[in-house]
């Protein structure tokens, strides 16, 4: 890090020592969302810096490491070493928002468990499609509970450990009640319009792409 002894007689606006310039280039390349050109590095480092030289040092420093400094066109970026690509598998996760039907069903199971399908429908006011329940079970957020000891012995649903884990809860009992929701300002006390009766409600539904909406209704 300490290269040649620094010539003290140079100006106040002296460029930082090369070790410092290397740190700067390192930080800029790391944080940037795209490869950074040399011109851009010159612009971003203090006056008098020599990012080209800093890049040479930095490149050497990362040689053989888990991450390498590579040149992409006329720009520079850090990239995982080619032989470690197999470790990167989990990064390719595509996240989608849960449909409104699913989140409502999930909420009802969480608050009312163990709960039967008929009870979920009673609370939501609409039929629960099999796809919704299947999806929540596939996500391992709900599972079958004990059968209800009533005529027909319907199955019940309860939330899973994975659910608690995902939502950062210690137990489903930690969920706040309606009064607490309102007190905490999480709940608008203004009555909400029924589905489909207002434009604002329509927007809510927008996060379901039309295709997912359909397939949920028409699952095979």
């Amino acid at each position: 890090m300490t290269g040649a002894p620094e010539p003290i007689e140079r100006s106040l606006f002296e460029a930082p020592p090369m070790g410092e310039q290397e740190r700067m280039v390192e930080a800029v390349l790391f944080a940037s969302a795209e490869p950074v050109t040399l011109a851009e590095l010159v612009r971003r480092l203090p006056e008098g810096c020599d990012p080209a030289e800093a890049l040479v040092h930095l490149r050497r420093r990362y040689e053989g490491r888990g991450v390498n400094l590579v040149k992409v066109g006329d720009a520079y970026a850090f990239r995982t070493a080619g032989d470690l690509g197999h470790l990167m598998r989990r990064e390719a996760v595509e996240s989608r928002k849960l449909s409104r039907a699913a989140i409502e069903t999930l909420a009802i199971v969480a608050y009312h468990q163990p709960v039967t399908r008929a009870e979920i429908e009673e609370i939501r006011g609409v039929a629960v499609s099999r796809g919704t329940v299947d999806q929540l079970m596939e996500l391992d957020w709900i599972r079958l509970g004990r059968r209800r000891m009533t005529p027909g012995r319907p199955v019940t649903f309860v939330v899973t450990e994975a659910f608690l884990d995902h939502f950062g809860l210690e137990s489903a009992r930690d969920l706040p009640g309606i009064k607490e929701l309102r007190a905490a300002g999480l709940l608008d006390s203004r009555p909400l319009p029924m589905p489909g009766s207002s434009p604002s409600e329509g927007q809510d539904e927008d996060d379901d792409s039309p295709t997912t909406g359909q397939s949920e209704l028409f699952e095979d």
Binding site: A92, S95, L98, A107, L175, I178, R182
Partner: protein, 267 residues
Amino acid sequence: MAQADDWAPDAQSDRLAPSDRLASEALIVDVVGFEGPLDLLLSLSRTQKVDLRKISVLQLAEQYLGFVDRASALRIELAADYLVMAAWLAYLKSRLLLPPEPGEAGPSAEDLAAHLAYQLERLQAMREAAARLMARDQKGRDFFPRGLPEAVDHRRIVSYEASLLDLMRAYARIRTRDEFRPYAFDRHNVYTMEQALERMRGLLGYMGAWADLTSFLPEGWGVSAARRKSATAANFAAVLEMAKRGQVELKQGEVFAPLLVRRRGEA
């Protein structure tokens, strides 16, 4: 306290000198600027310029009461909590000044005063802590995460996202709907598209030549208008879906003519 004296109510509040008017306006601004009685007390306590532990609660009570008097003289509406605090401080003041009644139970006036001082000190401490917290280096401002997270493998794993907040809001939405609108969903007279689809699928095998869609109404759904409407709409949606899947064909001679349906591939 000089300040408290300044705020003593005086009779001529109706005819305010310009300077008084300025003062009263400043007071209004101040009242608005305070976040409740404790905040006001904390501000007042600063004029004592001592360690909050050694603050004179008696003096503070007088300042506060002076403030409230002044506000009422200026006809400033004070929120109830300011008045509750004033009443409590007046009580505390009297307890501090008078010797304790013999045989009196409960905490002493000194204990109450000490607790108030503690509350002020704690609020002050949390304010300072908050300031120190916000002065820390913050992500996205002073230090940065990796700007170009790498996704090497192209195998896609779909993960569904939902936060606890989404969950609670969804539940709140359902519950408040019930609260404000009596639950009166008439399922008896509603025929769902799923039901229709299920049934029409079963009938698929029997569909030969072109047949009027209305002839497929389920039993008992053609009598009352509401039920007929619901079943017709559900059947219509169901055959549209089936047509989309290539299971049936639909045709209609002209606008409002009967809608005809047959199984696809039927000559």
